[in-house]
Symmetry: C2
Subunit: 285 residues, 2 copies
């Protein structure tokens, strides 16, 4: 068990009330997600500035550094200190990070909803990833994930305009739920929580409200997670990367519907269950 | 009238058919958006790699270079040549780009749905932007925009998982409609088309299917556009930047509903029109 870094426990408001006019000129007060810049200093060297809602900045930065492969093992890190008074996070390592300049020099601008950035080496690394071939997901566990997400309390329900990512056990039990203004922040924060907990991804299910784009699949693969669910769709490169690393992608997961896009051998269909549930839903309707 | 650069006219397939399984194990064929890497070479120097659907690569790259303020005037550019055989675009300038290294050195990772990148100087530039104070939008023109988007043929209707941006006249007449896997690509492509056409933004309306995040507002402001509409929501920094530059933000624009978030003086309410239309909708329902 490595010595864990010292982690601050910062707290900030996650939503903000603003006054707006509707189509009839009526004054309304609505909640919107908070959004703040967070500049990352790695051993006092400015690395980059992220925009985040501020819910899990420490886990976010740890996961970002891990997913970008800028830091390999947790015991390299002495401390992660977030200071919202100056919108900065200071990451201190025990022995410094070698060839940091070289590793952050090449930009690849990815899809997401935007022009997300992964540093160059990442794409090459994907070629070496082969996810746990024995990992399976039961159809009933998949539905448990979807139902849990639908009913889970969220910033989205209050303020909209955030993306959620969540980590589940193979049985569909919720482990982590994270929302942020950027869905990549949400997945990075979950990676950070897993890193701190020393948790493996090989027997987990990952859910995102966002699209299954290449960089989401890459990040899931880096975390070793064999099954990635979304209520949204996919893109061509997301599909290609999932095929390559052995990840089962499931899109359009809403109610009892889903589309299984890749590596169908991982899904254990329980059609009776589906029939029964569908019948149940019809009766309720 | 400056000499226009030589622009290639590349063509690629924008959707791809894939076979998937649904929740009952039935084999379905669905369309997903194409997605390809496009590496940008500026005077033979590799600048970055974008992921794009490939619909408007020439306009996309021009708009990207303009919105990132890497090239100031169109007549600096001799040619933009896209070659999908090697997934590359060669941008050639007449006299080279000064201090390109310096201008691309600082990263700011923004929200969007992801960790979008704008180069550092951009944020500072926003302070100097003050949008046309006389620009107005009539409520009926706003509804014309929303109705046009709803009925416009789109990749989204066929394959989902893309974002659309569109430019409209002050009367709500469609000028440009662009879809891409990344919404920032879509807005950059429109910026490129406007640049090529020598079109001003000061009397235009901009629509995006994506959220009104800070970088979307910044890009709209750079294009001089005083009114930004979305069917989605906003974030705190999107709102702040819009307040600062004098942009009217309208979120949740669907049917006859919208929320006017900033600079309400720009909207000319036509309540009778709304009442009438609402009554009409009710009768139809």
């Amino acid at each position: 068990m490595p010595l864990l870094p010292h982690i601050s426990q910062s707290q900030v408001a996650l939503t903000k009330e603003v006054q707006v006019l509707d189509e009839r000129g009526r004054l309304l007060t609505i909640s919107i997600p908070a959004e703040r810049a967070l500049t990352v200093y790695l051993d006092k060297r400015e690395l980059l500035t992220l925009m985040t809602i501020g819910a899990n900045p420490e886990a976010l930065i740890l996961g970002y550094l891990r997913n970008q492969r800028l830091i390999r093992t947790l015991d390299e890190i002495a401390a992660v200190q977030v200071d919202w008074d100056v919108n900065a996070v200071a990451v201190t390592t025990h022995h410094g990070v070698s060839d940091i300049e070289e590793r952050t020099s090449k930009r690849v601008v990815t899809t997401g909803c935007g022009q997300g950035t992964v540093f160059g080496g990442l794409m090459d690394e994907v070629d070496q990833i082969h996810l746990n071939p024995d990992a399976k997901i039961r159809q009933s566990a998949l539905y448990r994930v979807v139902d849990t997400i639908r009913t889970h309390p969220s910033i989205y329900k209050k303020a909209g305009s955030v993306h959620a990512c969540a980590l589940f056990s193979a049985d569909g039990e919720l482990i982590y739920f994270v929302e942020d203004v950027g869905r990549h922040n949400a997945v990075d924060a979950i990676a950070g929580k897993m890193w701190l907990a020393g948790m493996a991804g090989s027997d987990k299910i990952f859910y995102t409200t966002g699209r299954l784009t290449s960089e989401m699949v890459i990040k899931g693969a880096q975390m070793g997670i064999p099954v990635l669910l979304s209520r949204s769709g996919t893109t061509e490169m997301g599909l290609q990367v999932a095929e390559q690393v052995g990840m089962s992608l499931l899109s359009r997961c809403t109610g009892r519907h889903f589309l299984l896009l890749t590596h169908p051998q991982r899904l254990e269909f329980e059609l009776d269950h589906t029939e029964a549930t569908l019948a149940g839903d019809l009766l309720k309707a």
